[in-house]
Amino acid sequence: MYSEKVMDHFQNPRNVGEIENASGVGTVGNAKCGDIMRMYLDIDENGVIRDCKFKTFGCGAAVATSSMATELVMGKTIQEALEVTNKAVMEALDGLPPVKVHCSLLAEEAIHAALWDYAEKNGIKIEGLEKPKSDISEGEEEEDY
């Protein structure tokens, strides 16, 4: 059901991990739906994404789209990174099954959330960037087993 590219990025995900003292960190999705993505960005003084890492809780498509999204924004300027849409991520992966399209939306949102965090930390406004919609804090449940 997955393309070879999706399977490749799922089996050998690029840029998994964390960045200490990251310029921006964004977490989107929620555990209820089964997908959470966290994106770390290291942005240099010229506004270029020097490094990008991710962690994802989710299905094969969620992992693959996260991995591909990190590759697509690496080395880009903030403005260029903003143009990495879910469609671009999907195309780069040779498509996703219809039920998995929401995973690519999450990847786009994760980039935006990390950029939003960067902008807030630095007290700047990034043109064309809106406050990310989804957030991990929604729907958190306190239950024990």
Binding site: P13, C33, G34, D35, K55, G60, D144, Y145
Partner: protein, 398 residues
């Protein structure tokens, strides 16, 4: 990857070689129509009768109470829709459980649209039907109780005898979807007060596309498929002779080998459960610890998602199943896992492994080692695990 470890026997099973051998002559040699008068036809009829006899005997039923169908879903649909139709004058209320297979749940939803009322009785944290809730749900217009014999996901075996007694004491028909249980646990329809029972061939090393519905004499439900006089005019259509021969042979084999086979499976299953729970932290067993199908194990691994786990297992040649949303084609995880009280993220991280007579200890060891490695890998990529390790959140499964 040559090695295939098939641990998804609740999804379907391999056809036993004995079953295939029994079926083969009915494709090319004895291919006559059982309704035909000549010898070639009568040979097919005799084969169908033999299969019916084997199955009737295995349930303590009469031959004329066994009706062959195209499988478990048809049997479930028939039992529910035809009972609703035939007994609507008495009442329009049906009771079932929250953890039924979709063949029951979606049929109930359909009947609700037709004006029937359905009560979905809950289960406890082990997946056992709440009998007090069942008793409280009974109304004067209740015509049917349908509760599965054993759950397909978590393997929990229901208190069928008690449910049968409650149904009988209240003059309500009792149907059970025994698709997972038939051939795995002994069933006697009289002892358990079962009025209707659904089963399927491909879950017991038989062929796909064939099943049966047991209908107790006196339950006056009508035909679901109209046409010829086959199956005592209750299920028209030329008999699936090869399939029926196959399910008969499979039923015979399953019952002959049941004791030794299930004893061995229980031992391996418990070894699997023991190793997984001992060696992988933040993991729980879903379903009842002991009142469960001999071959079923179902786990939840916190901080990871089931589909990722399944794909990685597949790369190691291991076939399993999950109740995660991604495997259900919707955004919600399995209704069964939610019904036993799991929160969504725990339900998303489930893995079902179902053994067969061919499963070996080496298979289990290889599987546990693989699961361990994969869970560790996926947790290493999980933001939830990162937060847990950083002390930001508490684990839900200790």
């Amino acid at each position: 990857m040559d090695r295939v470890i098939y641990l998804d026997n609740a999804a379907t099973t391999k056809c036993a070689p004995e079953v295939v051998d029994a079926m083969l002559p009915y494709f090319t040699e004895s291919y006559g129509n059982p309704s035909s008068i000549y010898k070639l036809g009568q040979k097919s009829k005799a084969a169908v009768d033999t299969a019916r006899e084997i199955i009737a005997k295995s349930l303590g039923a009469q031959n004329n109470e066994i009706y062959f169908t195209a499988g478990g879903s048809e049997s479930d649909n028939w039992a529910l829709k035809a009972t609703a139709e035939a007994y609507s004058a008495k009442g329009k209320h049906i009771i079932t459980s929250a953890i039924e297979h979709h063949a029951i749940l979606h049929t109930c939803e359909y009947l609700q649209k037709q004006g029937f009322e359905v009560t979905y009785v809950g289960v406890d944290e082990n997946g056992v039907l709440k009998l007090d809730e069942l008793k409280a749900a009974i109304r004067p217009d209740t015509i049917l109780i349908s509760v599965m014999f054993a759950n397909n996901e978590i393997g929990t075996i229901q208190p069928i005898k008690e449910i049968g007694e409650i149904a009988r004491a209240n003059g309500i028909f009792f149907h059970t979807d025994a698709v997972q249980a038939y051939g795995q646990v002994p069933i006697d329809v009289d002892e358990l007060n079962i009025d209707m029972l659904s089963a399927s061939g491909h879950k017991l090393n038989g062929p796909k596309g064939v099943g049966f519905l047991y209908i107790r004499k006196g339950v006056k439900i009508r035909s679901f498929v109209h046409g010829g006089q086959q199956e005592r005019a209750r299920r028209a259509g030329t008999e699936n002779v090869t399939g029926i021969v196959g399910i008969g042979a499979a039923a015979r084999l399953a019952h002959e080998t049941m004791q030794a086979r299930t004893a061995r499976e229980i031992e391996l299953r418990d070894y699997l459960i023991g190793r997984i729970l001992d060696e992988i932290p933040n993991t729980k067993l879903n379903g009842h610890r002991t009142d469960r199908l001999p071959n079923n194990a179902n786990f939840s691994f916190e901080f990871i998602e089931g589909e990722s786990l399944l794909i990685m297992l597949d790369m190691k040649g291991i076939c399993g199943s999950s109740g995660s949303a991604c495997t259900s084609g919707s955004l919600d995880p399995s209704h069964v896992l939610l019904a036993i009280g799991l929160v969504h993220e725990i339900a998303h991280g489930s893995l079902r492994l179902t053994l067969s007579a061919e499963t070996t200890k080496e298979d289990i060891d290889y599987t546990v080692d693989s699961v361990k490695e994969i869970v560790a890998k996926l947790r290493g990529m999980s933001p939830l695990y990162e937060d847990y390790k950083a002390g930001k959140v508490k684990a839900k499964i200790q």
